[in-house]
Amino acid sequence: MTDSEVQIDPDDHTFRGYRRADGRVGVRNVVAVVPVSVTASAVAERLADDAAEWVRATPHQMPLDPPEGARDQIETVLEGIGANPNVAGALYVSLGTERIEADALADGVAETGKPVETLTIREEGGTAAALDAGADAVDRLADEAREARREDADASELVVAMECGGSDATSGIAANPAVGNACDRLVEAGGTGVISETPEFIGAEHILADRCTTEEVRERLLDAVDRRERMAGLMGVDFRGAQPSPGNQKGGLTTIEEKSLGAIAKGGTTPLQGVISYGHRLPLGGGFVVMDSPGYDVESVSGKVAGGAQVVVFTTGRGSTTGNPIAPVIKVTGNPNTYQRMTDNMDVDASRVLSGESVDAVGADLYRRILSVAGGELTAAERHRMEEFAINDIPPKELAALGDPT
């Protein structure tokens, strides 16, 4: 459906989604196969590959025995994925000697009322046996998932993650303002809009700081930015070496301030209500909030989804094609060349702003698109099975110097 065919009814904030036992609404009905450590990632991936529709794995590279200070963050993300309302049922796969216990994760997820199982490679008797047993577990979970039906829901039950990647000058001029407009509409309808990528606040944090509803939120925001800067400093590196990236610069972005000012536009104009740690639970009806994360897209998106975001809106000037295994990612580009060249990997053409259409009109279209995707419309990333996933790891030097981030 092209944008011009979408009926823009500004008063319609409804969609139909899967209402879970804990009351949260999912926009997809996925069986998630989650490895507890890198040693179980390959088994998890194979199980998802071999299974029927809508079984998705979240492979990652976290070790068998992460250092204590890094462990909480990993556990939070692993549990959060299973708890995300897009997930109908979850299978946690482990080798069996992980420091993080699959049972503990499963118990946490089970509190949401959804079916959860665990699979331990050592207990099954090795890889081949685990693949067999895992296939059975996945079948059971998929059978149960198939019972779910969409019901009436509305935007106030949505947590939408906004992200930008492969940015160029059009990101701040067209795509992000359009997303910000959609974010404002979402917040007005009672939903939650979350942005992250903390390094991309540098140079624009004063604007966000001014919007914070309380002093505490303001402090948390500035602390988060400060910590990310100090992290780069630990490497003896000037942050400006990484931001803007060569791709950003080729696309016209000159300084980190310019990039950040353009980036925060995706958060719209409403008050900043909270700062949430990486991977932690995002509030329903929370208005505009920020999650602390690296600028690295795949980790940033994964963190927001672990926090409960059901839909991701992802702006890209250069043409990032990444998606996520359990949440639909809507690709928005403000670059007409990118939209033309990579139409099949893009969802929304925001370059219309460059040719004179109002940010408001494009924002309204995008908002409608979010609701449509929430109701089941597949995004380009979903059609192409683009499903990237990674967990932000806290490296040893940073742990030693800066301590636990939460």
Binding site: I173, G203, G236, D238, F239, P246, T254, T255, E258, L261
Partner: protein, 127 residues
């Protein structure tokens, strides 16, 4: 963040801005008449002194070395040398104004150090 388009070929994000962003690949000599837009920089005509690629910026007025560059009605950088009106504005004549994390502690390199090899890498193998 509305932005004001000039001639469908460039956009100025706020009236107080000192740079415009190209919406097309612009040729040397291309003129932009600023009359009637209410820009802080004035009502003059800006003539491009060089090519400016789509998405890149050009100066709307002369910017002296050390002066701040404004876009989105905010500071986006500082001129590292004198910039003429109509000149391409990018990493070769602008640097970030953000304090560097390594500054106070170990007196590490200035902005154009080997660590910021990202710009260098940008030129090697860039298409």
């Amino acid at each position: 963040m509305k932005g004001i388009t000039i001639d469908d070929a460039a956009i100025v994000m706020a009236e107080a801005d000192t740079v415009a962003t190209a919406l097309d690949d612009l040729e040397t000599g291309r003129e932009f008449d600023l009359a009637g837009y209410g820009f802080a920089v004035g009502e003059h005509t800006v003539t491009l002194t060089e090519q400016v690629e789509f998405g890149h910026k050009f100066a709307l007025e002369p910017i002296a070395e050390g002066e701040l560059i404004r876009k989105y009605d905010e500071v986006v950088g500082e001129a590292t040398r004198d910039i003429a009106a109509g000149e391409w504005v990018h990493t070769h004549n602008v640097e970030s104004t953000r304090a560097r994390p390594g500054d106070e502690s170990d007196g590490s390199d200035d902005g154009e150090s080997a660590e910021t090899d990202a710009p260098a890498a940008a030129t090697e193998g860039e298409r």
